[in-house]
Symmetry: C2
Subunit: 295 residues, 2 copies
């Protein structure tokens, strides 16, 4: 196993090189996609894919395109979420959001382009595997996993529930639905896909899914806490929007004390699901780091 | 070979059944995706996929999900193109466009959802093929073909060139770039993918690519002609927007007479590329029908 920063470097060294060339009359498309990919980010999702693959003895280098595709998907979702018709955020990661730099039309296209490029990048990994049916099958499972959890029964369903219920009274069930789909699905997908690529056992996939699910819900709850208590400067985006836009958040429904306590419980649950595995130290450390983040 | 309408029925009987279930708190997502899929359309792209697969002796039933995925992609592109920040069209196929019914935020998400659902639907076709390496390889090629031509070096590059050059002086090279990517790529993709699924020869794929490319450019030029001369009622959308938005169109650059003559030349080119094949009648008839359409 490598360190978080080593996995992160593998991602950042390759990320924009995987973008397609849109051709001479559409250079601005690549520029706007690369802008949002390059303004930083924790890279938790792609690191989780590489680390999970590594933990199960898989080929980390071969997993890099899948990891970058996950970051493409995460980045497209942020570009579209920041649009005026959605959360209307001018800042992202301390920089102007995509539509503030390139305009709304290009931001819509950059998001579409990143989602397409993710699917295309993953799909392209199958071609050199011709004849290797085990590798092709592992690829097929990982591909379906990523696209499904990012899609209309996954992340987009979560975002829909968030947007469609603004101003409605939030229920615990609705809040959990949003946490599960908007956030946890895109942490679960890379963990499961990394393990599938490595040919991990079904037991290991199940235990690490429990880890990623709890990590994901905890991640969203802490985001909700930081929307009240965090520093806009550290977070690199406008805070206080949950109240302003009357969002369904854990804090709004259950209160700050319950949110803090649920954060601790979920982090413990995540860690205990995988603590018996040889390579659990990396994942336990990550869960602790995320529980204590201030941005 | 079946008739155009028989292929079309195979698509329309299955189209919305392939949409994922977004779950109880996001039903509106499926509703908005289904709305835009169900308000009609010529279904040329998915029909081309089934017919091409059929022409090469492939399994038409197994190709239906790929064909529906192409229609998902076409539909998402229309939803996003109609947004106020893009072409700002209130009408599509004679009905209110998606954002007029569901609002801008949901229209963005419905487009994202349809693109994701397309990729997910195609990816899911690989799973039952476990162990069949020839079928998996044909699937992989067709998948990559569709996603690439729909993506940031394909259709989205064309849309970018169109949007980014509004108000700029159009050149013949720019107009051809837009025709190739915005339109022809999404007619070439289903033809090539259908043939790949059927295991067609490289020669056949090459000739049918020539057919589809010329058909696609002709299709866009006739769209530009109809923007001037067509009936808004028949077309089901606002016309005259090319002048109003100062768009790069063949008619604007070369004039109406040249456009009519290029339409005829491209249609002849398309037909002659495939006329020696056994099953060419279907494709010749389609090219003639498209050349003479008034909507």
């Amino acid at each position: 196993m490598r360190s978080f920063d080593e996995y992160k470097s593998l991602i950042e060294d390759n990320l924009t090189s995987f973008l397609p060339d849109p051709g001479e009359h559409a250079r601005i498309l690549r520029e706007s996609m690369a802008y949002s990919l390059s303004i930083g980010g924790k890279r938790i999702r792609p690191v989780l894919l590489l680390a999970s693959c590594d933990a199960a003895g898989g080929d980390v280098t071969a997993a890099i395109p899948y990891a970058c595709a996950i970051e493409f998907i995460h980045t497209y979702s942020l570009i579209h979420d920041d649009l005026p018709a959605m959360d209307d955020d001018d800042m992202r990661r301390g920089k102007p959001s995509n539509h503030k730099v390139y305009g709304e039309a290009m931001a819509i296209l950059a998001g579409d382009g990143l989602l397409s490029s993710a699917a295309e990048l993953i799909a392209g990994q199958a071609l050199p595997l011709k004849g290797d049916k085990d590798a092709l099958y592992a690829h097929s499972r990982a591909t379906f996993e990523i696209l499904t959890r990012a899609g209309a029964s996954g992340m987009i369903a979560g975002q829909t529930a968030d947007v469609a219920n603004e101003g409605n009274e939030a229920t615990p069930g609705l809040v959990r639905f949003i946490e599960e789909h908007k956030t946890a699905d895109l942490l679960t997908a890379p963990v499961r896909a990394g393990l599938m690529l490595a040919g991990a056992s079904e037991d290991m996939i199940k235990d690490f899914t429990t880890y990623a699910y709890n990590l994901g819900i905890a991640f969203q709850i802490l985001d909700d806490i930081l929307d009240y208590e965090g520093s806009s400067e550290l977070m690199g985006k406008t805070l206080g929007k949950d109240i302003e836009q009357d969002k369904c958040s854990y804090v709004n429904v259950h209160g700050m004390n319950a949110a803090r306590s649920e954060l601790g419980r979920l982090t413990d649950e995540a860690k205990s699901a995988i603590s018996s595995y040889d390579n659990s130290a990396f994942f336990i450390e990550l869960a602790d780091k995320l529980e204590n983040r201030n941005h």
